[in-house]
């Protein structure tokens, strides 16, 4: 493919024909378009009439080459982390056992710990509430049906993922069944790490009060930590999809 002469043959550098360069240029431009459109489509969520058609056209290439990323690392803001807590029930009378992952003491090396961490984060990412969303009466029936289908698909995927985790944990530890819950681990404000900390509130990163069971029955939920007050610059409204 490439005309390359070793420099011991002669001193002229390798060359490509103009036609071949045109072909390579087109391929390169196509590839870079895919590399760009992938994160762009994340950035313009829920959608953009300019980007969505391009994304749809390039989707096979983007997904096949594992380019489908938003690169939104710790963005728009660093989030609390999410863990998985599980309870194992045994058929032979062994007392039930609870566990949690990721666990830095159990999972070594660090990359293995991080893989478990990503599994717990994925379970939260895929979460869809058990109840169907409610829609305003003014919403057209067709749109309502579409939104319902979106919710059904999302909920099915979450349940499949959760149940897959449960099957693995039960199989791994010889249990009859496993129940999986999502935990959210809130981080503390800097003031709790200075001499101005409020001793009535948590001031250690692993204080049990900083963990919230997101799947517990409402009556069992501990008092949540006060949520940080959203702060926005004067005159600037939050963007769609902001969680704060």
């Amino acid at each position: 493919m490439e005309v390359s002469r070793t420099n011991s043959d002669n001193n002229s550098p390798p060359t490509w024909s103009r036609g071949f360069k045109l072909l390579v240029s087109a391929l390169v431009a196509f590839h870079l378009a895919a590399v760009f459109i992938a994160p762009m489509s994340f950035a313009v969520r829920p959608g953009s009439p300019a980007i969505d058609p391009l994304r749809a056209a390039l989707a096979p290439y983007i997904q096949a080459l594992y380019l489908d990323h938003g690169y939104a690392f710790f963005a728009p803001d660093p989030d609390p982390s999410h863990l998985v807590e599980y309870r194992l029930e045994f058929a032979d009378g062994t007392p039930s056992r609870t566990g949690r992952f990721p666990d830095r003491h159990e999972h070594f090396p660090r990359m293995l710990y991080h893989r478990h961490f990503m599994l717990s984060e994925s379970l939260n990412t895929y979460y869809a509430p058990p109840e169907a969303p409610r829609f305003p009466a003014s919403m057209p029936a067709e749109e309502r049906a579409q939104e319902l289908q979106v919710w059904r698909t999302a909920r099915a995927r979450f349940e499949a993922l959760r149940d897959s985790y449960a099957r693995h944990l039960a199989a791994e530890q010889g249990a009859a069944s496993a129940e999986v819950h999502r935990l959210r681990h809130d981080f503390l404000p800097p003031s709790q790490f200075t001499n101005q900390r409020d001793p009535a509130r948590p001031y250690k990163l692993d204080d049990p009060r900083t963990y919230q069971d997101l799947d517990a029955a409402p009556a069992l939920l501990p008092s949540p930590l006060p949520a940080p007050t959203p702060k926005f610059l004067p005159g600037i409204s939050p963007l769609p999809g902001d969680t704060r």
């Binding site: 420099n7 870079l32 594992y66 599994l119 994925s122």
Partner: protein, 342 residues
């Protein structure tokens, strides 16, 4: 009117010539070879770690079993041979084969073939292990894709030793256009990655009010070094936050000029080094630094490697003349390969 037409024509001609120079200038192989060694080692380690709990991640009763993995990616254009593997024995056989491929890739043996296999295997694991991945896998896949395009085993490789064995003399490193194209693709991919990494942060409040870095420091699940003492110095947290988001957002502009490139790369090492040491993502931080090496010129890489090689030879008590004939020496290169500047 003629002046306008002439100026327009001149602009198009200049643009085409710039495109030609940017993409189609033959480039020496040292930078890409170094990325191959380091990126290949990272690929090997990444997949070695999967093997520590292979059944938990890929077995029939994995955290995300094959059926669930397929359901999560229903309608996607992804594919993995691992979806069809249920036998633990076959799984282990394929996994060991994958590790051998990554080892050969790192060492640079049969590189042209092995680089393609490394790309296929990398993507297969990425598609199968959806749900357990993070930024490291994105960078691994990026490097595996682009290293496949070029002869990245041209130097610093067992393939070069094979050519010595066949020809009886050290082959001069050859400059290839494809080497340049692969390098440029890594560079531009990084620019796009950082651009969207930066502008996505700009949509958050914490990256503006200076508290975002605290959100990482105070996250116990990420923490590998306790930096909560920085709470006493909020101005440091804010400075780190602002520098990070501005460096990331404007990376695609500051990485190109010669005067700002060293500073941009130094900040890349600082940011990713901080991620590696402080947030426990040693592999991700290292992989990003490896990718950033695409902006280091092959001449500089060769000079550093030759310096290290010469120092090691001197330490072993051999003369300077022998060092001039050591593999990849600058003197040997100058005799036979006046490669064009980048």
């Amino acid at each position: 009117m003629n002046a306008i037409v002439s100026a327009t024509k001149s602009w198009f001609t200049d643009a085409l010539q710039a495109w030609e120079r940017f993409w189609f200038t033959p480039t020496r192989p040292e930078t890409l070879a170094l990325i191959r060694i380091l990126g290949g080692a990272m690929l090997f380690y990444t997949h070695f770690v999967w093997g520590l709990k292979l059944n938990a991640f890929l077995g029939p009763h994995a955290f995300i079993d094959n059926a669930t993995a397929l359901q999560l990616q229903e309608g996607w254009y992804s594919w993995s041979y691992l979806w069809y593997i249920e036998s633990p024995a076959l799984l282990w056989t394929l996994h060991i084969a994958a590790l051998i491929i990554f080892a050969l890739f790192t060492l640079g043996l049969f590189t042209r073939v092995v680089s393609v296999l490394a790309f296929v295997v990398t993507l297969a694991y990425c598609h199968r292990l959806h749900g357990a991945q993070f930024g490291l896998d994105q960078v691994n896949a990026m490097l595996a894709t682009y290293l496949m395009i070029a002869p990245c085993g041209e130097v610093y490789s067992l393939d070069r030793w094979r050519r010595l064995w066949r020809s009886g003399q050290w082959p001069a490193p050859r400059a290839f256009i494809s080497t340049n194209i692969a390098t440029r693709l890594i560079q531009l991919h990084l620019c796009i990655l950082y651009l969207f990494g930066g502008i996505s942060k700009l949509r958050g409040q914490m990256w503006w009010d200076g508290s975002a870095v605290w959100g990482a420091i105070a996250n116990l699940e990420y923490q590998s070094i306790d930096l909560t003492w920085l709470a006493q110095y909020p101005w440091i947290i804010a400075a780190l936050t602002h520098i990070t988001v501005f460096w990331e957002t404007f990376y695609c502009f500051t990485i190109w000029p010669k005067w700002s490139r060293p500073l941009t790369l130094a900040l890349a090492v600082a940011v990713h080094g901080g991620i590696a040491l402080g947030l426990g993502m040693v592999t991700f931080g290292t992989a990003m630094i490896i990718a950033n090496m695409a902006f280091v010129s092959p001449a500089l890489v060769a000079a550093v490697v030759n310096l290290v090689a010469r120092n090691r030879v001197r330490e072993q008590g051999r003369g300077g003349e022998s060092a001039a004939h050591s593999p990849g020496s600058l003197a040997a290169d100058r005799r036979s390969n006046p490669a064009p500047a980048r």
